[in-house]
Structure formats: structure tokens, C-alpha cells
């Protein structure tokens, strides 16, 4: 290989390295360039320069607030802090569930409010959960999950926002830690896209619960505040 001008090789090589930095090469060609970069310092230096040049475009990535539950999932993965503990072992909750006192009474309301689209292609199951007030909280939500669109739509039916606090939605399966689905407003309908793990786990019988947490949601990935509403997902 020629090393013209002593900084990054021939024009062809420089372009190859730029294409490599832009991830435009495929298969064998990419592998060949990667091998050369690993063994030829001039090409490695050229790659570094291209990455520096291109990184000036980083400002064009638009800042987008991340969903609140992401960081708790990161912590759970790194530090293993998602062991079941706390409120979902709450006796009143399970007693209530066992007694069937949380029968889905608001199904019809849920269907009307959510106006589910019965697309021809969507033969997947749809679930609704009425999250009814706990301990006199006066907070009620209804959630609708369409397995076709993989979105949960949730809307507050009763109750008001609490100053300096946020409501956080969780899904719970028996003998599993509750998993946050993020902070939800009481006064508007929101759609929550489900990650692949949640898509796999949420189904008939999954319990959805809303807790009252500090602003921005629980920082630990575990619910810390009181349960204000709870309901079970039921097929419709």
C-alpha cells in the first residue's frame, strides 16, 4: 500500500476509511478495511481524524427526553436492584385480588373511551384493565393494550394531579418484581410503547398498578409510594 503524503495514505485509502467511519462498507470489504486499520497506523490515524470531523455533526441529533423508567432498568441490570420487595407483597392488595373485589367493571367504558381500531390485520388480542381506586385514593385509570400495535393506552377517569408528585404505572406478574412503565398524567390520554420484554410478559391476568411517587417517578426502579389504583388485564 502506498502512503502518500504520509498522513492517511492514498486518496482511495482515505475515502475507504471515511466510508468505514460512516459504516457504509459491508461484509468482506468492511472486514478487509478493519484488518488494515488494525495493522496500519496511518489508516488508524486517518480513522481517528474522520471520526473527529464527523462528530461535529453530533449537534444535529435532537435532544429527546427519555422515558423515566429507562434509568431504573439500567440500574437493575447493573446493580441487581430489582428484587421483589415492598408493596407488591402487600397483604391487602393480594387479599383484594383473591377476593375478586377488583372485578373489571369498567370494561365497557374502556372500550368506548379508547375506540380501539379493529384493523383487518389486527387479529391479535386486546386487553383492558380498569385500575380502580385503592384505600379511598379517588384515583381511577383505564388501560387498553393492543397486542397488534404493541401500545398501551391509558387514561385517568377520576382524580387529580398531586403537587410535586407523579403517578407511575407498573405491571406485575405473580412472584415477579413490578416493572415500571413510566410516569403517567391523570388528565390526558397517553400511549406507552412496550419494550420487547414487556410485550412478552404482559398478557391476560397481568396486574397493572399505579403508585404515587416523587416527581419524575421512583428513582430506584422499585415502587416507593402508595398504590392508588390497581386492576387486572382482561381480554375483550
Amino acid at each position: 500500500m502506498s502512503l502518500e503524503r504520509g498522513h492517511g495514505g492514498s486518496e482511495d485509502d482515505q475515502v475507504l476509511v471515511a466510508e468505514y467511519a460512516l459504516d457504509l462498507l459491508e461484509g468482506g470489504e468492511r472486514a478487509a478495511v478493519a484488518r488494515r486499520i488494525a495493522t496500519e497506523p496511518a489508516l488508524a490515524a486517518e480513522l481517528k481524524r474522520w471520526r473527529q470531523r464527523l462528530s461535529t455533526l453530533d449537534g444535529e441529533f435532537a435532544e429527546t427526553p427519555a422515558p423515566t423508567n429507562v434509568f431504573s432498568r439500567v440500574e437493575a441490570r447493573l446493580f441487581g436492584e430489582s428484587k421483589p420487595a415492598g408493596w407488591w407483597n402487600s397483604l391487602p392488595l393480594w387479599r383484594a385480588l383473591a377476593a375478586g373485589s377488583l372485578a373489571v367493571a369498567v370494561v365497557a367504558v374502556g372500550i368506548n373511551l379508547m375506540q380501539p381500531r379493529f384493523d383487518a390485520e389486527t387479529t391479535a388480542m386486546q386487553l383492558v384493565a380498569a385500575l380502580q381506586a385503592q384505600e379511598g385514593s379517588g384515583i381511577e385509570f383505564v388501560a387498553f393494550y393492543d397486542m397488534g400495535t404493541k401500545m398501551v393506552r391509558i387514561m385517568g377517569l377520576e382524580g387529580q394531579a398531586v403537587p410535586d408528585k407523579d403517578f407511575e404505572l407498573w405491571y406485575i406478574e405473580p412472584n415477579e418484581p413490578a416493572v415500571s412503565m413510566g410516569v403517567i398524567p391523570v388528565d390526558q390520554r397517553v400511549e406507552i410503547p412496550l419494550d420487547p420484554a414487556a410485550r412478552e410478559r404482559i398478557g391476560e391476568g397481568t396486574v397493572l398498578a399505579v403508585t404515587l411517587e416523587q416527581k419524575g417517578g421512583s428513582p430506584t426502579g422499585q415502587a416507593q409510594g402508595p398504590i392508588v389504583a390497581v386492576g387486572t388485564a382482561t381480554p375483550i
Binding site: R30, L47, T64, A66, V74
Partner: protein, 182 residues
């Protein structure tokens, strides 16, 4: 999110390398919107971008000791971690071409802090140099870097044959380099 100075971010990364979880939380708070912007733009699927963001911060925690402060922009390093991870996912989506070697080689070529920084002078220069390209060609360079578009995707988006796009982009890169070295 309040703007954070490079020095602040570099300091937080250094403290992450020392296993300071509070620094990690702070770093997440200050930078997650930017990195979510990266994974979202490249993956164009909210659920996948969230999943990727989670994995990106796991990597940042695990590799914080590989960031070398001094002269280099720490946010560029973080963006490079996010961008490379999102591109790995993009590649995994596509039917695998021919060889496993490529995947191995590229997986090894992880983000290097020194690869990701630029002084303000060079920033102004690359913007000026991109401005000297025809708009469609500058767009193609941006699409390759910011969206992770392949040659096929770029050709389709600009409605030109694949080989034309290759020629466009290669010439644009040569011009860019000349402009930047001039």
C-alpha cells in the same frame, strides 16, 4: 435539562470509572436526552431506541474507565458509544451478508475516546465545508452519519442508482477532506 460544560461531563465520567453511582445518575440526567436522540434517530422505533438507550448506559458504566479526559469532548465520546450501539442493532436487523469476520472485526473497533473529539475551529470548518457541497450531497453525508443509512437506502431516498450514490458520496468525502486539509 440544564446545559452542562464539557468539564462537568468529563468529571462525571471519571467518577463513574470510580464506581460512583450518584455520578452515574447525574450523568444520565444530563446526557440521556441527547443519547436518546441518537438511538431514536438511527433506529426510528421508540421501543427499540429505549432498549438501546438502556444498553448504552450499561456500556457507559462498564467502559467509563476507557474515557481519557483532556482535549477531547466527553459528549462526543458518549454520542459515539450510542451511535455505534445503534448501528450494531441496525446491522443485526439486516440479513447477514457473508462473513462472521466482519462482525468480529467491527465489534472490536469499539468507540475510542480519542476518536470522538474536535476543537471548535474544526467544527466551524466542517460546517463550512459541508456548505460547499451541493445540498443533496451534503444531505447524503448527513444521512449516512446521523441516520446510519446504507448506500442502498441513500440511493433510494435520493432516487439515484446505487453506483451514482457511491460516486456522489466518495467524491463528497474527497472534497470534504480537501476542504478540511486546505
Amino acid at each position: 435539562m440544564s446545559p452542562s460544560s464539557s468539564a462537568d461531563i468529563a468529571d462525571l465520567i471519571a467518577r463513574c470509572a470510580l464506581r460512583d453511582r450518584r455520578a452515574f445518575r447525574d450523568l444520565y440526567g444530563r446526557t440521556s436526552a441527547k443519547l436518546f436522540g441518537v438511538t431514536l434517530r438511527i433506529l426510528k422505533d421508540r421501543a427499540e431506541a429505549e432498549e438501546a438507550l438502556q444498553e448504552v448506559y450499561v456500556k457507559i458504566w462498564q467502559r467509563a474507565d476507557r474515557y481519557v479526559a483532556g482535549g477531547y469532548s466527553p459528549i462526543s465520546w458518549l454520542v459515539a458509544v450510542a451511535r455505534n450501539h445503534a448501528l450494531d442493532i441496525l446491522r443485526a436487523r439486516k440479513p447477514v451478508a457473508d462473513d462472521i469476520d466482519a462482525a468480529l472485526e467491527v465489534a472490536d473497533a469499539g468507540p475510542d475516546p480519542e476518536q470522538a473529539a474536535v476543537d471548535t475551529g474544526e467544527r466551524a470548518r466542517i460546517e463550512g465545508c459541508l456548505g460547499e457541497l451541493e445540498p443533496a450531497k451534503a444531505d447524503a453525508v448527513r444521512g449516512a452519519y446521523l441516520d446510519g443509512f446504507s448506500y442502498e437506502e441513500l440511493a433510494a431516498r435520493h432516487s439515484v442508482p446505487l453506483n451514482t450514490m457511491r460516486t456522489w458520496l466518495r467524491r463528497s468525502l474527497i472534497k470534504l477532506r480537501e476542504c478540511l486539509s486546505g
